[in-house]
């Protein structure tokens, strides 16, 4: 079963379709691999800088990852950087399996949109030379939601308004 999976992956790469469910990243700091997505959870392993990890999922500020050894655990999302690809597509393919599986074969990129990038591009020149389209500005209002619709929509996912204070600028963290 595992071997067929590998062959499938090789075929996908050969076709220019990146593996949709696997995404690799590297630790950018020395960090501990936690047993749960909390800072006070137990440590599973201590990882040096540049450790390869495979992303499984994200929960809040934490990624569930698997090491090459097969061991899994949780890392703060800011302790890793996704590996990118050189083709201009997104290397961060984790969580995009639903998209890639819908694409026709032969398309490249994790989300499959890369191949068409530039076809209907939007660059600084397009904006600088834009000819106003007032008709479109009128037409989009047909899709607008009412506050009542937004509330009903939120209830479907059990989205509840929370009291959250605005964040402060962190001194000294300005890039």
């Amino acid at each position: 079963m595992k071997r067929w999976g590998l062959i499938f992956l090789v075929l996908m790469v050969a076709l220019g379709v990146h593996a949709a469910t696997q995404s690799t990243a590297q630790t950018i700091i020395a960090t501990s691999l936690n047993s749960a997505p909390y800072s006070d959870a137990g440590t599973v392993a201590s990882l040096p800088v540049s450790t390869n990890v495979n992303i499984i999922a994200r929960q809040g500020a934490w990624y569930h990852v698997r090491l090459d050894s097969g061991q899994d655990g949780w890392l703060l999302m800011t302790s890793i950087r996704m590996n990118s690809t050189s083709s201009g597509s997104s290397g961060s393919s984790w969580g995009f399996g639903w998209l890639s599986s819908l694409f026709e074969s032969g398309r490249s990129g994790a989300t499959g949109v890369t191949a068409t990038t530039g076809v209907r591009g939007l660059n600084t020149g397009d904006i600088a030379n834009a000819k106003p389209n007032p008709q479109a500005a009128n037409e989009i209002t047909a899709w607008s939601a009412t506050p009542q619709q937004a509330h009903q929509f939120a209830q479907q996912l059990d989205l509840k308004p929370e009291q959250v204070a605005y964040l402060q600028q962190v001194k000294g963290a300005q890039p």
């Binding site: 500020a61 949109v113 068409t116 904006i127 479109a136 989009i140 506050p147 619709q149 989205l159 929370e162």
Partner: protein
Amino acid sequence: MNMRACLEMIQRPLALILMLVLTSCANVGGSGVDLNSLFSALKNVKQAVKPADQQEEEQIGYATAATLLGAAKPINDPAVQEYVNKVGLWVALQSDRPNLPWHFAVVDSNDIDAFAVPGGYVFITRGLLLHMRSEAELAGALGHEISHVVLKQQLKALQQAAQLNLLGAAAQFELQQHGQNTQLFNNVANATRNLYSKGLDKQDEFEADRMGVVLAARAGYDPYGLLAVLQTLETVDPKSNGMQLLLATHPAPAARVALLSAEMQAGHMDRYGRQVEGTRRYQQMIKTLVSTSTRR
């Protein structure tokens, strides 16, 4: 009442009276009034205070929206458009400007970008939607754009660029006379072409990131969605066409990730990390976009 409020109260009628006086002066021709110095005096008065009330902001926003939609038209997919409007309005309702006429639209480009327009318009490209995994990520990206509108950052930049303080008064006058105003429209269109191809000050972008995650958290979403989007964008080749406009108008994703994560940590946003992700609903709603993006 402070000085600024006083000035704001008198400036609009003053501007109209001056306009009428100037018009009649011009009609009789050479009455000894120095029109140029009067105009520059009027301009200085108007620049000293920011007059844009909501009606003016909506007029400016309409012209800006029309100009941007001239560069990328809305996609013809009512289900996706209505979905993005519901997510967007739910997030906007948690902001300090819940009563603006909020209009969201997905525009027809596979490149990665989103735009905030004065008066409550927010546009997002199909390309950006296809680089997101969940409704929490969408809510974070829309939260960033909503924050620009709430903070009136584009409005201030457009006003400054096009000296719309003066034009605003002229626009009111002309609207009363003719019911429409092409001068205002054309000036805003020009300022839009310039602003949206160059971008805001990078501090404005960082501020919108900081507020955007809070709006998403207030709406009940996992606030780390925006950070996840930015981390995805970090992996897209910066030299690719799909990133050209975004990178020309925003700080690098890595810089935004570094700053935003530090601010979220300082603000203990991890308390909201287990809020709604909305992965299934997002993927269900967005999947029709995949087939449209593969055409042509």
